[in-house]
């Protein structure tokens, strides 16, 4: 604990994070949210500021593997964390990853504002071995708002991405069991 005093209200502090595999240390205001730290300080601009209340999901990132609203977490709270954002879903050579490709192929983005959050909500599901059904995709994505697509193409894209990921992971991840679970 340090001594109180109005002079250091809002003082800056150094926060270190690994963002999409890249270690980043930046000094910023202690009151900065993770979203503001990523966008305005670290230059990682794919998460978007939508509502500021945790409703719209456009700022969704993964912190140590769990989906969070980056606008509702202080950067200082997650100092040292591994953060994943939508731009980190690409392949090592920079081409689109399976989720990104599925969104592209299924026209799951229109204006694109919700897309980085949708991708990370979907990425959290896939990393968790889900979804088990189309209904589960719809249920999980209720925390991410899209005002363009009507959601159908997004749900299609997540299903397609899951099939692609399972097909790529070979005989240990057969599509058959996913179909059976439906």
């Amino acid at each position: 604990m340090s001594s109180p005093g109005s002079t250091d209200v809002g003082r800056s502090l150094a926060v270190h994070m690994t963002v999409n595999g890249r270690p980043i240390t930046r000094v910023a205001g202690a009151h900065f949210t993770l979203l503001r730290w990523l966008r305005d300080v670290a230059g990682v601009t794919d998460p978007k500021y939508g509502c500021g209340e945790g409703i719209c999901g456009s700022c969704t990132v993964l912190v140590d593997g769990a989906a969070v609203s980056s606008c509702l977490v202080l950067a200082a709270q997650v100092d040292g964390a591994e953060v994943a954002t939508a731009s980190g879903l690409c392949e090592p050579d920079g081409s689109l990853g399976p989720l990104q490709r599925a969104f592209h192929e299924h026209h799951a983005a229109q204006c694109g504002f919700c897309t980085p959050g949708m991708l990370m909500a979907a990425a959290a599901m896939l990393a968790d071995g889900r979804p088990r059904s189309r209904a589960e995709i719809r249920s999980e994505l209720h925390g991410n708002l899209c005002r363009c697509t009507g959601y159908g193409p997004i749900v299609d894209a997540v299903e397609a991405a899951q099939r692609a990921v399972r097909a790529a992971s070979g005989p240990t991840g057969p599509t058959a069991s996913a179909e059976a679970a439906r």
Binding site: P4, V9, H31, T33, G52, S69, L72, S139, G143
Partner: protein, 291 residues
Amino acid sequence: MFTRPFRYERAERLAEASDLLRRYGEDAKVIAGGQSLMPLINLGLAAPHVVIDISRADQDGGPRTIGSDNGYLTIGTLVTHSRLAADQVAARMQPLLGAAAARIGNSRVRNRGTLGGSLAHSDPAAELPLAMVALGAEYEVSNGEQARYIRAEEFHLGFLTTPLEADELIISARVPSLGPGWGWAFQEFSRRDGDFALAAAAALVRSSGGAIVESRVAVGGVNDRPVRLADIEIALTGATTEEAADRFGAIRGIDPVSDTGASAAYRAHLAQVLVKRTVIEACQRSEAAHV
């Protein structure tokens, strides 16, 4: 998003947070998951001078554990809603609680939001305060020097209002386990999935030989706090599952608000429907428990 700057203090232990609260007084706010405080800060509705972070306190300690203690389920204040919803001990000892936790907000809210944060925030439409009142839980609160227990019904005093002293934090909740033969149910209704409930209900029923012997029923979202419905509990005694829904009419003792979300009359109607549905569901679980 461009919040007023504040001083950030990280407490390594909950007791240290109480020290900091004594030092900074009313200018300070405690943050754990931040799922209630950060929206208020982002929208400019709260502008604390000091934010005391307990989210990393007691890394391996009691505030993060879910355990069983002499027939009680104990849940540490920093347990997230996601963990509570998925926890096997909690599911075995008091399944209603995990079911209530699973209905909170969306997965992002559940991944960060904590038990103590939700209870101390005391939103009248929140799931966990309602579940705790229905279950007859009590909260351990402490200022780092002295601990005391407060019953859930005496803790949720009104809209965002609790008897917590300025330097006190919730440490844990103590929840009686589901007794043999009891059934449970938790239901809520909101305009959109993940939105605040317009009304919610929790019911616990113990039936024997097809008739209700005892019950505990509570509603949320319709008053400035979750309320237990003693009249309905009395009316239900002796009813069969088929009769249960007809044993009471409009719910007395509630005072719903009219706002842009719903009219008071609609909230009262929802409360009645949800109480009937939860009582029936709890009856069915109670009867299944006898088989």
